[in-house]
Symmetry: D2
Subunit: 157 residues, 4 copies
Amino acid sequence: MLRDVVIDLLKERGVELSEIADIVYTLQSPFNPDLTMAECLESVERVMDKREVHHTVLTGIALDVAAENDALPEPLLSIIKTDEPLYGVDESLAVSIASMYGTIGFTSFGYLDKNKMGLMARLDDKSTGEVHCFLDDLVAGIASAASARLAHGRKKD
Amino acid sequence: MLRDVVIDLLKERGVELSEIADIVYTLQSPFNPDLTMAECLESVERVMDKREVHHTVLTGIALDVAAENDALPEPLLSIIKTDEPLYGVDESLAVSIASMYGTIGFTSFGYLDKNKMGLMARLDDKSTGEVHCFLDDLVAGIASAASARLAHGRKKD
Amino acid sequence: MLRDVVIDLLKERGVELSEIADIVYTLQSPFNPDLTMAECLESVERVMDKREVHHTVLTGIALDVAAENDALPEPLLSIIKTDEPLYGVDESLAVSIASMYGTIGFTSFGYLDKNKMGLMARLDDKSTGEVHCFLDDLVAGIASAASARLAHGRKKD
Amino acid sequence: MLRDVVIDLLKERGVELSEIADIVYTLQSPFNPDLTMAECLESVERVMDKREVHHTVLTGIALDVAAENDALPEPLLSIIKTDEPLYGVDESLAVSIASMYGTIGFTSFGYLDKNKMGLMARLDDKSTGEVHCFLDDLVAGIASAASARLAHGRKKD
């Protein structure tokens, strides 16, 4: 099943859904003091049901991995390896995830993009040799979507 | 000229372009230590040349003013007067301004939306009887656009 | 309930959900020969469950009605009454509905915007004295969302 | 210069700017009977000045080429090679180009996506062994942007 493939791939690249749920909790708990971590994880799980999310994650990580393997043509290779500040394709991709839950999704995304917290700060560390140009934004997109979903009190989708 | 009508209307509602330039400076100076306030104001002026900006500002302020005058039907009137947190039309409108300069624009917009600074904090003050449900987001949209424009080193547009 | 208020308002402005379902059928039946009108209407009903849709429809129709009553300041009044071709706020609002179901939603929206069919052609008729600058785009947004929802085989949301 | 690299890459993949200008002419000439092909080409040239366009084109074509060379992991490889209808990452990327010139840009993009004309029909031909999952949308994005630019009567940007 595509959903499982994508969640396994995230794990392989160092991302557990529970860590995304931590970011959701940080975003959403100021507005909802009764919020539990279990609800945050459940919301991340629901976002991970969406085919658009699967496709976007597969594509972004494929670009990260290709860059790690020096398997992209220049000048794109260097742009992605250094996560060049004016390169915005990673954000464009990821914001399409955040936007599925309305405007609250994309404002949270913008906030996370400037305040890389927890998992995102780790992925943004350029000293490891790993390339996560896309992955940190994908995580922000999923967290923003899951947070907006909670804000809207969605039960099913 | 439509541009002048819009700038006058912003003034009437308490917004000077120089205050928007202050926000641009706060956003962009960490990335560019040589940035001057004059460059920030110039960038705001260029954003104010765009017809899409004129139309969006006219529409948003018309809704604020209609709400201030109790001239909207319920339940929309109460939603806009209280700037209900789940109402996202104000952000939808304003992000269309920010997006004209690429992804840097909309990530800055999301950041400002959560960190209302300077002018934006003043507009967000609900105790005055004034309604600025749309205006604070319009200011964030213009500031984000002007900041992204500087980041891209645009000279002309 | 907000949902009922919004559906009643659409009716008052001349829009039945069944007519939106007709547009959904036209969009989606080429890809799914077994599609029934009942499924199209069901999909429109599900889109009408979303709070973002309620807020956007309330706002757009309030602007149409205000323009019909000459209750907007110039130059905005004339821009909305004539549905000036370069005025894009109506599309900006409505595309936020279409985007909730991913990219299929917004490409359908662009298509409908240029091929105003059925109900949309009627709303676009400028000879009636009625103002539907926003409403025709809102209908396109809802139809595009409902069509994308069917394309993705969504059951619940 | 990055701009030249990108234009050369488009040529290598079978796309001349003059063919994009043909699409612009088809989109925009109904609204402007005096429009010349030279103005359409000039507008495409100006869109090609933008860094966001460079980055997006480099990324999309890199994915097409990697798919052509079977150098992507499954299931992404098959999704891109068959341009699976529910895969929307290609449209997400390309619409970010179209959006830089406001809402007219993205409605034209949606229209082109459903009415693949000229060059786009050729790129969409799956019988050649070439993979243009992203390229046909990139062409639509550039054409929509150049068309919206003309609609707004932009001189400089």
